[in-house]
């Protein structure tokens, strides 16, 4: 992984973790879009965003307990807390993917230039 990628990964994780702790879920899309634009890839912002979500959830504490209660309320089974965590991870990945893909696409379109765009 290039130095640039490492920096973007770390910055994405830190910034997004802080934003998530403030309740700014929509920052996932924005930060992932910036990261996608910066590195031109989708996978890196997605992994970074999921790391940020995991960090923020662990930071709040009590994740397993909350997951168990949510699984009881939503899935009618107290033992499916792991599934709630999986669903949350998938949701975070989708948010990040949407942002990262948009960012990466903008970068690609920009790199082609007006002449290339005319074809």
């Amino acid at each position: 992984m290039s130095k640039r990628n490492v920096v973007v990964f770390a910055a994405t994780t830190v910034v997004l973790s802080a934003a998530l702790l403030l309740g700014w879920w929509w920052a996932t899309v924005l930060v992932a879009a910036f990261a996608g634009f910066a590195v031109g890839k989708v996978w890196l912002p997605v992994v970074a965003a999921m790391t940020a979500w995991a960090t923020a959830i662990l930071w709040t504490g009590g994740a397993p307990d909350t997951a168990r209660v949510l699984s009881a309320m939503v899935l009618a089974n107290r033992d499916l807390g792991w599934l709630v965590l999986v669903i949350t991870a998938v949701y975070a990945a989708l948010l990040a993917s949407a942002g990262a893909w948009t960012g990466a696409t903008v970068r690609r379109v920009g790199n082609r230039g007006p002449d290339n765009a005319r074809g």
Partner: protein, 820 residues
């Protein structure tokens, strides 16, 4: 772009019943992190005058210690809200008919009913009429301040219960009216009954002499009233014709006089159907509570003792929150209802008390005379009158608001508009200042003052049983409507001929103080004998026939050297008095009968049975089936003969497996016939075929033998109706007739019983108490205090009540509240 939309839309907006995912799942203020354990804190609490301390024991029991009386109730409000805010919000919303606003269309029926019943109307009137200088006003304001301080803090710290997040709303500010409406909701859950509606089907189907024989005024089995007389007949106390604040004797409609009205036609099936669809707790269906006191002559210490266990529907979280309160003017320990500041049961340093439901009817149903040609009018006292119309707007989550019109006659709200308009006079709608009564009671120096303070109690009708170091006693409180010449336990004509004429004066209500035998038992039995000079309860006006009172009276009378352990053991007693009556008769009836296989085994098992409905007892399980079969075998032919109709709740069909007050009364009636009138004509068939008790006992035995065995269980349902959060079902003993009661939708599936067991021994200067609730102090399923009382409760254990300095060493968490 499509991916962006697909992800962002459900993130930002609710879709398909799901909440908006972004706000719910985000780690900052979403559902994560709301399970933070309770730990030491030092919050700044606006409204607090001087520092206060709230401490918690390892099991979650709370102690609030404050420097002023107002601060005490502020502290209780703060504690309630920190531990039970979502439950409190549901309670006030449900009571006031605002549930659909957050739960959606499924709650609209409940809201319409509550708006008709008018708890919010009554609570608002009570608040308006509470004098400016009344201590209760100060207490309600302080309590509200405490709740609101907690709401602000929970919002600021992103710690609102996760249910708020999932439903996507934040609680509004708490007001004194909210507390008063919660108080009335509690009164409704234990004091509003529809038994007159149920029994109206029978009264209409059966000839009067048959109805009287099956459903006598005084229950058929031996009664143990705590007030045995002599009684005084005093003039009635004035009571309004209409209890609801919006009900009044409207002026006649101009030009509409005369005509004589339209006789009530049709039945009450629509009302029955309406009531059957409402959530549990809307209508009281449980009549089981125990409270007793014994004098020092019966105890090992020479000092009185009290035991009390109110029986209610179980839920997690429960309706109770146990707290010790200490301030310059108060010191008490007891159970409070989250949303209401004062304890309903408990103890002070001078006395302890328990409560049970009193028997007398306080829900009167009026069949109004109406005419389709005169919409929204009713005929009363010889004139056509306009109904009062109250227009309500019901907010519905995700839908347009609905309009609902509440109609009121002079008697109260019209609960059934289809067919015969049926209105309700309910004592729970009367003006009430129960909080002042309770506060005065908490400050009372002795039991005489305690009794006097509660004389103004309006509803629900309750028995208070008390014990102090010096004395014991019991008394009933609550307005008792009297109607001349009519049975108030059945629907009444609404034309003015059966209006409430007044109430039994407080001085004539059942009461006993230091009885000669040194024993006071209140277990929902009829409190007085048949000589009582006022119209009182009937066997069909209240769902208890007096079984538990018989067990308790037998166990306590004449006994000496009783200890607190004995009192606790008696709370767990599962002796079944119906079995005591019937099993010897059944065994006698089976003598000489050829039995093989299961029948033979069951006869042998019954012969060796201790007549207790213990956990796992095959005999108890069989006996329940047998008792049901006995009622069916005896009465079903007559049921058919008189064409008794079905009802939406399934209470009337004798073949139904549902628990039912109708069957409860019939069990007592047939048991008495078996024992003392074995040739009763109703054992025979309507076609003249002769049968006697022996023949019917044998038939019932054979029927029960042929049925599959079940298992008695107890379950503690989640208040949210989320089965995965329930505790249980667990194997359990007890039934609706045993002191350790258990009841539910069916005899096998118990969901109601002793909601708090409480024993106080006055040998210690300030009383030594123990208590247990089958619940936990917290509403948070992730909390160690969620359902931690269930297991000790099931094992018959108690938690010691630590008070004052004794609470200090057992407290593991402290909140040191600081004034702003």
């Amino acid at each position: 772009m499509a991916l962006l939309l697909v992800v962002l839309v459900p993130s930002a907006f609710p879709v398909g019943g799901l909440p908006a995912l972004g706000p719910v799942l985000n780690p900052g203020d979403g559902v994560w992190g709301r399970s933070a354990p309770v730990s030491d804190e030092a919050p700044v609490v606006p409204g607090l005058a001087v520092p206060a301390v709230i401490s918690f024991e390892a099991n979650g029991l709370a102690h609030v210690s404050a420097g002023s009386d107002d601060d005490l109730f502020l502290g209780i409000g703060y504690t309630h809200a920190r531990q039970r805010l979502f439950q409190m919000d549901l309670l006030r919303r449900r009571a006031a008919g605002q549930l659909a606003e957050v739960l959606g269309a499924s709650a609209v029926e409940s809201d319409m009913f509550q708006l008709d019943l008018g708890l919010a109307r009554s609570a608002e009137r009570d608040w308006r009429e509470l004098p400016r200088d009344a201590p209760a006003r100060q207490v309600l304001l302080a309590y509200s301040d405490g709740v609101n301080a907690a709401i602000d803090e929970l919002i600021a710290r992103d710690l609102l219960p996760e249910n708020f997040v999932l439903l996507g709303y934040a609680p509004r500010r708490w007001t004194p009216v909210d507390s008063l409406v919660v108080q009335r909701m509690f009164a409704q859950s234990i004091g509003f009954t529809d038994l007159p509606v149920t029994f109206s089907f029978l009264a209409k189907s059966l000839p009067a002499d048959v109805f009287g024989a099956w459903f006598p005024e005084v229950p058929a089995i031996a009664q143990h009233p705590y007030d045995k007389g002599p009684y005084r007949k005093l003039p009635l106390t004035p009571a309004p014709v209409g209890a609801d604040p919006a009900a009044h004797g409207a002026d006649p409609v101009p030009g509409g006089g005369g005509g004589g009205g339209v006789p009530a036609v049709g039945g009450l099936a629509p009302l029955r159907e309406r009531l059957a669809d409402l959530p549990p707790g809307t209508v009281n269906r449980i009549g089981n509570s125990n409270a007793w006191a014994v004098s020092g002559a019966h105890t090992s210490t020479g000092r009185p003792m009290l035991a009390a266990d109110p029986h209610l529907g179980f839920s997690l979280p429960a309706i109770w929150y146990q707290v010790e309160g200490t301030s310059p003017g108060y010191h008490f320990t007891g159970v409070t209802v989250p949303g209401f500041p004062a304890p309903v049961l408990g103890k002070t340093d001078r006395f302890a008390w328990g409560v049970t439901n009193a028997q007398r009817p306080t829900s009167l149903f009026y069949l109004e005379a109406t005419d389709p040609a005169r919409p929204d009018q009713y005929h009363w006292q010889g004139e056509w009158r306009p109904m009062t119309l109250v227009r309500n707007r019901i907010g519905v989550r995700g839908e347009e608001p609905r309009e609902h019109v509440t109609r009121l006659t002079a008697h109260g709200p019209v609960l059934q508009t289809q067919g015969v308009a049926t209105s309700l006079w309910w004592s729970g709608a009367l003006p009430s200042d129960n909080l002042s009564a309770l506060l005065n009671g908490l400050r009372a120096k002795d039991t005489t003052a305690f009794r006097a303070s509660l004389s103004s109690w309006s509803a629900p009708a309750l028995n208070f049983v008390y014990a102090s170091p010096e004395d014991i006693g019991a008394f009933t409180v609550g307005v008792t409507p009297q109607v001349e010449g009519h049975d108030v336990a059945l629907p009444l004509p609404g034309d003015g001929s059966a209006d409430v004429a007044g109430a039994i004066p407080v001085a004539a209500l059942p009461a006993v103080h230091d009885p000669a035998d040194g024993v006071v038992v209140s277990a929902n039995q009829r409190e007085v004998t048949g000589d009582y000079p006022y119209r009182y309860s009937t066997s069909y006006g209240f769902p208890d026939q007096g079984w538990r009172a018989a067990t308790l009276t037998a166990a306590l009378s004449g006994a000496t050297g009783r200890t607190a352990d004995d009192m606790a053991a008696l709370q767990l007693d599962e002796r079944d008095e119906l079995a005591v009556m019937l099993v010897p008769q059944l065994l006698k009836a089976l003598q000489g009968k050829e039995l093989a296989g299961a029948g033979s085994d069951l006869r042998a098992a019954l012969a060796g049975w201790d007549l207790r409905a213990s956990t796992g007892s095959a005999q108890a399980e069989f006996f329940e089936r047998f008792a049901t079969a006995l009622v069916r075998r005896t009465f079903q032919p007559w049921w058919d003969q008189y064409h008794v109709p079905q009802d939406p709740d399934g209470w009337l069909p004798l073949s139904s497996g549902k628990s039912s007050p109708v069957k409860d009364v019939l069990r007592a009636t047939v048991a008495r016939w078996v024992v003392s009138d074995p040739g009763n004509r109703f054992f025979s068939l309507p076609d003249g075929t002769r049968r006697d008790a022996t023949a019917v006992l044998r038939e019932a035995f054979d029927e029960a033998v042929g049925q599959p065995a079940g298992q008695h269980t107890v379950r503690f349902p989640s208040l949210l109706g989320v089965p995965a959060l329930d505790e249980g079902p667990f194997p359990a003993g007890g039934n609706s007739r045993t002191v350790n009661a258990l009841s539910g939708e069916t005899a096998e599936a118990g969901t109601a019983g002793p909601s708090w067991r409480f024993v106080v021994d006055w040998s210690a200067p300030q009383g030594a108490a123990r208590a247990i609730c089958p619940c936990g102090q917290s509403e948070n399923p992730s909390s160690p205090w969620w359902a931690n009382g269930v297991e000790p409760w099931r094992r018959g254990e108690y938690w010691q009540v630590a008070e004052g300095p004794a609470a200090e060493p057992v407290s593991t968490v402290k909140w040191r509240l600081k004034p702003r």
